[in-house]
């Protein structure tokens, strides 16, 4: 049990609040009940006081003839069966007397003192320790007092007779105690039920959190394909889980791209390394004619050059990915295209390709080196994937919306529609085996796209297998 866990804190807070409410409610109910029973007792006592007072006013009651009390004066030893002092010359009427019990534990009792302080009357069940009350002033209103289990009303008549009427509260207190007990039991029941319900609700509420935590933990250990199970998509946590799942998916995709990139890069390096190792090992295996050594060295050099190109491309991409600051210069794409075409013209002539070039001034702001590489890569593609004796059409000029556009179209083998969307992906090759001799790693167009996007431009491709491919590059003009 972790006291800092959300579940326990919620439970603790919820339990505490509930205990306070229940205690407040219980104490109030108990107090109300106690006040009510006291009021009831006091009312009864008031009625009896009135009866005693009424009897007093009716005149001095005469002792009955059978009364064994000899007179008002001189108390004598009580008979063994009567503990309290017999009333001196005062008797309640029989009707009233019946209302007083004979047992101080249950019934009501009264006691009466004369003006001079003598006790002149009382019921049989007056508790022994009762003395003449001193707290009441003559003629003042009744005083209520509680002595132990006894509730008494004290009144002193204007002439000075003191009357105490009392009653035991034992049964009422017992009842009150039972009531309190029931309150306690009910409160405990409500608390238990409510805590159990709260536990259930909280458990259910935080179950998604636990699921999210468990999933995140599994993802942290490298199982990137894990997703949070989303049962209720409308709850706050359901929405959170949805958002997290999307994040995880994006993370996984990025991770996979990175992984594929690394795998592809190492894959591209494996073949030239194999060439170097096998050429060197087979050349060194025995004495050979000089020509074979030359061949082996030439093959090693070709493989090493291929690796160098690959490494340069990878570095270029890494630089672009890192957001290397591109220089901002005014570049005339027409002149840049002219220069680039001059560079690659010998390659095109080797394949007997015909140029169709339309150049109109088209200036934009950018890094001339990077934009030159874009053109060089596009032209190299147009040459490599052309057919012998085909054509290359290069058009540079103003594009729409004040921008500039470059079009490079070839009459080559083209690309199928299934490959078109992937053409700018790193290491993507429309024909996966078209590696080796040409030494193309499939990074040229990826570099083109990265540079163009870094310049805020767009590049599109349209192609028809067997007919040719056309790249359209658009940049903001200056």
């Amino acid at each position: 049990m972790n006291i800092h866990s959300l579940r326990w804190r919620l439970q603790l807070w919820h339990g505490l609040l509930l205990v306070l409410v229940l205690a407040g409610f219980g104490v109030t109910a108990y107090e109300l009940q106690r006040a009510e029973s006291l009021r009831r007792i006091d009312q009864q006592l008031d009625r009896r006081v009135n009866e005693v007072l009424a009897t007093l006013r009716e005149g001095q009651p005469r002792p009955r003839p059978d009364d064994d009390d000899p007179g008002p004066e001189g108390p004598r030893d009580p008979p063994p069966d009567r503990r309290p002092m017999p009333p001196a010359g005062f008797r309640l009427s029989q009707r009233f007397a019946m209302r007083f019990g004979t047992n101080s534990q249950t019934g009501a009792y009264y006691a009466l003192w004369a003006r001079d302080g003598r006790r002149i009357g009382g019921s049989d069940n007056v508790p022994g320790e009762l003395d003449r009350p001193t707290e009441a002033r003559p003629g003042a209103s009744a005083i209520r007092r509680t002595r132990g289990m006894l509730r008494e009303t004290v009144i002193v008549t204007p002439p000075g007779e003191a009357i105490v009427v009392g009653q035991s509260m034992a049964t009422d207190l017992e009842e009150l105690g039972r009531f309190g007990g029931w309150l306690g039991i009910a409160g405990a029941g409500v608390l238990t039920l409510s805590l159990a319900g709260g536990w259930w609700v909280v458990t259910r509420a935080i179950r998604p959190i636990e699921a999210i935590g468990a999933t995140a933990e599994r993802i942290a250990t490298g199982r990137l394909a894990e997703r949070i199970p989303v049962a209720e998509t409308d709850s706050e946590l359901g929405k959170l889980a949805g958002v997290l799942n999307e994040t995880f998916a994006r993370l996984e995709a990025a991770f996979q791209r990175q992984e594929r990139f690394t795998a592809d890069a190492s894959h591209e390096l494996r073949t030239p390394v194999s060439v170097i190792i096998s050429q060197a090992q087979s050349a060194l295996a025995r004495e050979r004619p000089a020509g074979e050594y030359r061949d082996a060295l030439a093959a090693c050099e070709r493989a090493a050059q291929r690796m160098r190109r690959l490494i340069e491309s990878l570095l270029e991409l890494a630089r672009l990915d890192a957001g290397a600051t591109t220089r901002k210069e005014t570049v005339d794409l027409a002149r840049l295209a002219e220069e680039t075409i001059a560079l690659v013209r010998p390659l095109a002539e080797m394949r007997g390709l015909q140029w169709t070039v339309q150049l109109a001034p088209a200036t934009c702001v950018g890094d001339p080196g990077q934009l030159g590489q874009v053109l060089a890569n596009l032209l190299a593609n147009a040459i490599d994937y052309n057919r012998d004796g085909g054509g290359i059409r290069v058009t540079v000029g103003p594009g729409g919306d004040g921008g500039v556009a470059v079009e490079v179209a070839d009459t080559g083998i083209g690309v199928g529609p299934e490959a078109l969307p992937h053409l700018f992906e790193r290491f993507y090759r429309a024909d996966p085996s078209r590696t080796g001799s040409k030494g193309r790693a499939g990074l040229g167009l990826a570099i083109v796209k990265t540079i163009v996007e870094a310049h805020g431009g767009t590049i599109e491709v349209a192609s028809e297998p067997g007919k040719g491919t056309k790249f359209t590059l658009r940049l903001r003009g200056s």
Partner: protein
């Protein structure tokens, strides 16, 4: 032993062919899938080294089509080196799997093991009476003394020894000992056989006139 190497990277193909020829194999080469599949189906090679990534028909497809007709041992050569690729290669009917870049020594050892297993010899050592053939070292010893053999003589003896107890026809010997570029006259085979008999003992290779040659298996013909 005759090999087919199918590999589209010309420099790698050249070095593989050179080094395996040095090892005494007769080697045919193919630079793309179509040619590779055609040759693999046409001739009875002792083993095929097959690159996975090929223009035209790729290595997996060649393997699949080859397996319909032939049980030639195939060693796949690939730049993809994940366990999934290896499983796919082995499950696809490849007999071994080597990832680029590789050492030629390892490739040669794997080829020897492949051919040995295909001919039913788990060990690289074959004893025929007092003559001992070590395929790993490519040596033949008689009574503990190494016997100097030419590459062709060794290849002929190795083939017969690995197929001992079987009649090996002259056609089979031509198929397995000479590659497509060899213009060897048929009587050269007799010259090699007689040289072997001179060096290893006249009784070691029996001639089945009109059929071919045979090294008797002591298990079947004591």
């Amino acid at each position: 032993m005759r090999l087919l190497i199918v590999e589209d990277e010309p420099d790698l193909l050249a070095s593989l062919a050179r080094s395996t020829r040095d090892e005494g194999y007769a080697v045919d080469t193919a630079a793309d899938g179509e040619e590779g599949l055609y040759k693999a189906l046409q001739s009875d090679y002792d083993a095929i080294v097959l690159d996975v990534m090929l223009p035209g028909i790729d290595g997996w497809e060649i393997l699949r089509r080859l397996r319909i007709q032939r049980r030639t041992p195939v060693l796949m050569l690939t730049a993809r080196d994940t366990p999934r690729d290896r499983v796919r290669g082995l499950d696809g009917g490849a007999d071994d799997y080597v990832a680029k870049p590789f050492d030629l020594d390892e490739l040669h050892a794997r080829l020897r093991a492949l051919i040995r297993r295909a001919s039913g010899h788990p060990s690289g050592r074959v004893e025929i009476g007092s003559v001992v053939l070590e395929t790993a070292a490519r040596t033949v010893a008689r009574d503990g003394q190494l016997v100097a053999l030419t590459a062709r003589e060794y290849a002929l003896f190795e083939y017969l020894a690995l197929h001992r107890g079987q009649l090996v026809t002259r056609t089979a010997l031509y198929e397995h000992l000479f590659d497509e570029d060899d213009a060897t006259l048929s009587n050269l085979l007799d010259v090699h056989v007689s040289n072997l008999r001179r060096k290893l003992g006249a009784e070691i290779i029996a001639t089945r006139r009109g059929h071919g040659y045979c090294i008797e298996d002591p298990g079947t013909t004591p």
